[in-house]
Symmetry: C2
């Protein structure tokens, strides 16, 4: 019998070409589909909660697929699939769920984290895992700008136009939390109902530019008040971004 | 004027063939010598406090070299050399010191950390940065074995014979600290006056085998009491080992 399997997947995105399937095959989705396909001995599609770009990491991406449930218990799928994946991609948990569950359409929200390393010298173990901004950042200004971002806004200024028209660029960000980690690491946690293409990286760049004094808190307010696609201009690098979890 | 420069160097050892210079050149020492040589426009030798094996990391390795001091201030050397190094190797600090200072011969001791990941599934971001032992370890037994290791012993059982005779295989371990990190990470901190070849990795393997019940605390005591080269047999993988600092 075919049943729906829900997956929680973690990955270090450094060496992969993002989530979404591509011809060359070096994406998280492709590698998961190949792993499932090798075990199930049939072509299998895996649907993610959302795409992550090349270089973006995930602590708990969510996805679903349909498998033959008389073959394995859910925990056995976890072990079997991991045995076919590179160690930089790990299925943390598999769970049989109702067919009504859809990783993307059932998602109610997501939590993204953006890591900024502010020490003069980037720690070798943070290479590809943080944006190196070796400057003194004004945390008070960053917090002020972050509080502006919270709430429901038209975030068109903070997205890249990929040539497709969206019905709406209005999104709700429930909270933006700024935390100091160890070793002069600054973390921005964005929790929201949904995010536009590259929106978190646009917002992270705006917060950092605010903290460096390149733009004012008022500039951020203007970008929110006058939504012009891409007008925020600056995008923080992919390597600092982590999909922390998907809310259902 | 030629002056002695002391360096503190951090590296992610994953992609390098260890510290010591080799013909193919992909070692930390070679890359540092090339970087210094490119700036100084002459052949430069860099001497480390100790060799680390391929895959072993360093948070603060120490080294020295001789450079022409009228060329740069110490801080300028840090910036110049880092500009010539891959991001996985960072000079954290340069300092002009007395010619009497020798990174290896002046060293009074070292602190090594060994990381063990005990969760069933290895976190993608811990790949190459911890030894994955997906088992419940008996922490009390590990602590008991660790306390035996402390002190002055003939550690011949915990070293690999590299075909050279050492004057003595007696070393003093001042402390072995066992710490639980986040995410089911177990850390062993070994502080001592000096370490034999692969000694920390032999000791880490013995502690883990003790925690798994493969050997008893008494077995560890026997290996210390009857020093037979290499009799501990098991070596923990290089990727879990970090040189934390060198004491002078």
């Amino acid at each position: 019998m075919n049943e729906r399997l829900r997956l929680i997947v973690a990955y270090d995105g450094t060496r992969f070409a993002g989530w979404q399937s591509q011809k060359h095959g070096n994406t998280i989705q492709d590698l998961l589909e190949t792993a499932f396909g090798q075990i199930a001995r049939e072509s299998i599609r895996v649907h993610g909660a959302g795409r992550t770009d090349s270089g973006v990491h995930a602590l708990a991406q969510c996805a679903h697929t349909n498998v033959s449930s008389d073959r394995f218990r859910a925990e056995e799928w976890t072990i079997a699939v991991n045995s076919q994946l590179p160690p930089q991609i790990r299925v943390l948990r598999c769970q049989y769920v109702s067919e009504k569950f859809h990783a993307r359409f059932s998602a109610k929200g997501k939590l993204y984290r953006y890591r900024v390393a502010t020490a003069p010298i980037l720690w070798p173990h943070d290479v590809d895992r943080a944006w190196h901004v070796p400057q003194l950042l004004d945390h008070a200004r960053i917090r002020e700008a972050a509080s502006l971002i919270q709430g429901t806004h038209d975030f068109a200024s903070f997205t890249a136009n990929r040539g497709r028209r969206l019905e709406t660029t209005v999104r709700t960000i429930r909270s933006v939390k700024i935390r100091r980690g160890t070793g002069q690491i600054l973390e921005f946690d964005f929790e929201g109902d949904g995010f536009l293409y590259k929106m978190v990286r646009f917002l992270a760049a705006a917060l950092v530019r605010c903290g460096r004094g390149r733009i004012s808190v008022e500039n951020v307010a203007q970008l929110l008040a006058s939504p012009v696609p891409g007008s925020a201009q600056y995008v923080a690098p992919a390597c600092g971004l982590f999909l922390v979890r998907v809310r259902y």
